[in-house]
């Protein structure tokens, strides 16, 4: 009760009702007022982001041509995997954090921009691995540069706009 959902993202009513439903779920409502469980989920979201950014940035730099003596295939195998696991964990912890204030976050411009970056970054990664093979063995240098470029923009963009979410509510 002492949390009346704020209107509104100007979007669909069905979506708004869904967000309100998320906020009122019992575990979500109790998480909103808990101290340590909220902090723990917050921390695990940060941990997941560290895996994503900590994987994609060095990998992108390698794709750009840095550390050219390090075998690309080995590096892609390790860093893509850890970044992918990080992304999965970030989606889970992020969904829970989102649910505690779904109406508010969905209307937050920084959050919306973040979602665009995450969607683009994730689909670019999936597309790259599907098209060029798991360790990108079929990609030309040009393609590798393009993948690295999109990856850097999206994941740094997601991190930065995600941080801005906390500084943006009305």
């Amino acid at each position: 009760m002492f949390y009346t959902p704020v209107a509104t993202n100007g979007g669909s009513r069905i979506l708004d009702e869904f967000f309100v439903m998320l906020e009122t779920l019992t575990p979500i409502a109790s998480l909103r007022f808990s101290r340590w469980s909220y902090a723990a989920i917050n921390a695990s979201h940060i941990f997941s982001i560290a895996l994503v950014v900590g994987g994609t940035i060095p990998l992108s730099l390698r794709l750009f041509g840095l550390w050219s003596k390090v075998p690309l295939a080995a590096l892609v195998g390790v860093l893509s995997l850890s970044a992918g696991i990080g992304l999965g964990l970030a989606l889970i912890s992020g969904a829970v954090l989102f649910a505690t204030r779904a109406t508010e976050y969905s209307a937050n411009p920084a959050f919306q921009i973040k979602m665009v970056f995450v969607l683009l970054g994730a689909s670019s990664a999936v597309f790259a691995h599907r098209r060029y093979g798991w360790v990108l063995e079929l990609a030309s240098d040009r393609a590798l540069h393009r993948i690295a470029f999109v990856s850097c923009i999206c994941w740094i963009g997601a991190l930065a706009s995600g941080r801005l979410v906390a500084f943006m509510s009305d």
């Binding site: 101290r35 505690t100 740094i156 509510s169």
Partner: protein, 123 residues
């Protein structure tokens, strides 16, 4: 290759810099450093993590008052019911450095005759 690295660095600088255009909320860097006292009627309360937000009608001006996280409000002796709509409340805290934002971060809250201290270490 050089082009990619250059544009990467440029974008990195732009994106990272944009995060320093912080608008409000965390910490005290966005506030004036001095306290104001704001009295008004609670119009709405969004309590809970990451921190609570009150809308306060102060003589027709609607202010946003940031109150504590649940544990901080609880430590100060505040219960969620204390922030019921229609209650008159006095907030002492630091306003946003742009006064037109009408945002204040509460350090102490007065309801009725009682004082609730959210940040005991701050004046």
């Amino acid at each position: 290759m050089r082009k990619f690295v250059t544009s990467f660095v440029v974008v990195l600088i732009v994106v990272v810099h944009s995060t320093s255009l912080a608008l409000a909320h965390h910490g005290w860097s966005w506030t004036t450093g001095g306290n104001i006292s704001l009295t008004g009627i609670i119009k709405s309360a969004q309590l809970g993590n990451p921190h609570g937000v009150l809308k306060i009608d102060a003589d027709g001006d609607v202010w946003t008052a940031e109150v504590g996280q649940p544990w901080r409000n609880e430590r100060a002796g505040l219960k969620p019911d204390d922030f019921a709509v229609g209650v008159e409340v006095r907030i002492v805290g630091e306003p946003s450095s742009d006064i037109n934002d009408k945002v204040v971060k509460a350090e102490r809250i007065y309801i009725g005759t009682k004082e609730y201290v959210l940040y005991p270490g701050r004046d």
